[in-house]
Symmetry: C2
Subunit: 287 residues, 2 copies
Amino acid sequence: MKQPLRDCRIGIIGLGLMGGSLALALQGKVKHLTGIDKDPATIATAISRKIIDQGQTRLTTALKPIDLIILAMPVMSIIETIPKLPSIVTEKTLVMDLGSTKRAVMDAFRALSQPMNTIGGHPMCGKASGGLINADANLYQSAAFALIKSDCAPPSSQRLAEALVTAVGARPLWMDADVHDRIAANVSHLPYLVSCALIESAEPAVADLIGPGYRSASRLAATPGAMMNHILETNQDQILIQLDVFIEKMDKIRSLVAAKDFDNLFTNLAKIRAKLADMLAVNERDW
Amino acid sequence: MKQPLRDCRIGIIGLGLMGGSLALALQGKVKHLTGIDKDPATIATAISRKIIDQGQTRLTTALKPIDLIILAMPVMSIIETIPKLPSIVTEKTLVMDLGSTKRAVMDAFRALSQPMNTIGGHPMCGKASGGLINADANLYQSAAFALIKSDCAPPSSQRLAEALVTAVGARPLWMDADVHDRIAANVSHLPYLVSCALIESAEPAVADLIGPGYRSASRLAATPGAMMNHILETNQDQILIQLDVFIEKMDKIRSLVAAKDFDNLFTNLAKIRAKLADMLAVNERDW
């Protein structure tokens, strides 16, 4: 099977921010787009805005002629959906997911009694506000898109997954599920919890005084629990490691402030500025 | 003295981001603008771009006919400049500053052998990149602008300070120097140090993977040391209190994660989301 993306019939399960944006970014680049979402109003909106060619509110055999299914729900919903897939998909169908943690999802695929043609995915992008209403055809543009191999996906499926990622403007990055989850804990789950602790520390009087810097530092705390809670539950061990690293850094800064050791504090902060500048230089093409 | 702002001759010492933006925002609203900056190139740029009417690189008696002087430098530079002012200003001249911490500045004013007509100020706004090149006439728009009374400033000077603040589009908020410094530690200095610890915790491999959320949470770490170091040195005691509050919140979150007590963790995070939403609702006019 060497099927180009433009000849593929695609199914997207979950038409929220990520699934809806994916559908928008795939407009005109695939043969057919089916959207599956449990909310009838979301399906109606997606059809009337021509985001999908066809829509349904339940997983049924109507999915059978589909070449590539993408699970675009929160992690725990993906894990609950995986056991329902074997009765719906054919052996040839490639099943991908966009879940924010990858080891728990890949384990759920592996736990199926019959091997399934699967590749894990995680686009490293998002928005403060979710839902189809905030979907954006450019959401994936220049974003890193982690891809996780499984034993059951042939090379042709790997090429199809890469074609999907590049078609929406993202950068495919193959990695192991465990490496992904460690990096995601460092770069996404830790900053979320740090922003939360910052908001928890906010004095009541400050609401009228906060400026762009504070809003920037704290905005991740607004990430919906419907998404974050699944991440915290399925990546608890990696997040705990990252929390310990961060708290150690905070304690070190606190010790220097407490000792009024400004020489060492300022040297440390200058190193951090240089590190951030280096990171942004690497990252700048999608800045 | 009931001098309206439009009849005032204004002097701004320091034509960086804050002083330059103030000069731009005051265009056409005052009688005359003198800019003082030790860098001749900055003065030349400010004159050629008509940001100021007149410029000089040193504090001299040429300042004498000025009604309102604004010190727009980092805190320690303001404190070093204050003892030089009595030989330059008249008794009628109102001296304001834009320093990021207020108690140390107000103490420096109070330490003068002759009382000076002074009001402390701190606009709660800024940008990731400093300098005149990044100055923006809209920088102060809708920002909270803390004002600190001194014993020596008559009511007419207080009204002039308020007129200046509203002329650039900001909101005057009178407060005590100590209250300001506590709030600033909570809303500005703590988030800076938290962003720094986040960058210090970053794994080497993540530079290619960071997305808008991470950049948002970490951008304060790029604040120039030339500004931040003065703040850390002059507000050490309040910052230490805020660091302890924050570390306690982080430790609590860590304990819940370590214990896999997701019920209490999710309840706590939901409260934080509600608190942030409330804060932003109050703050929304300048969101």
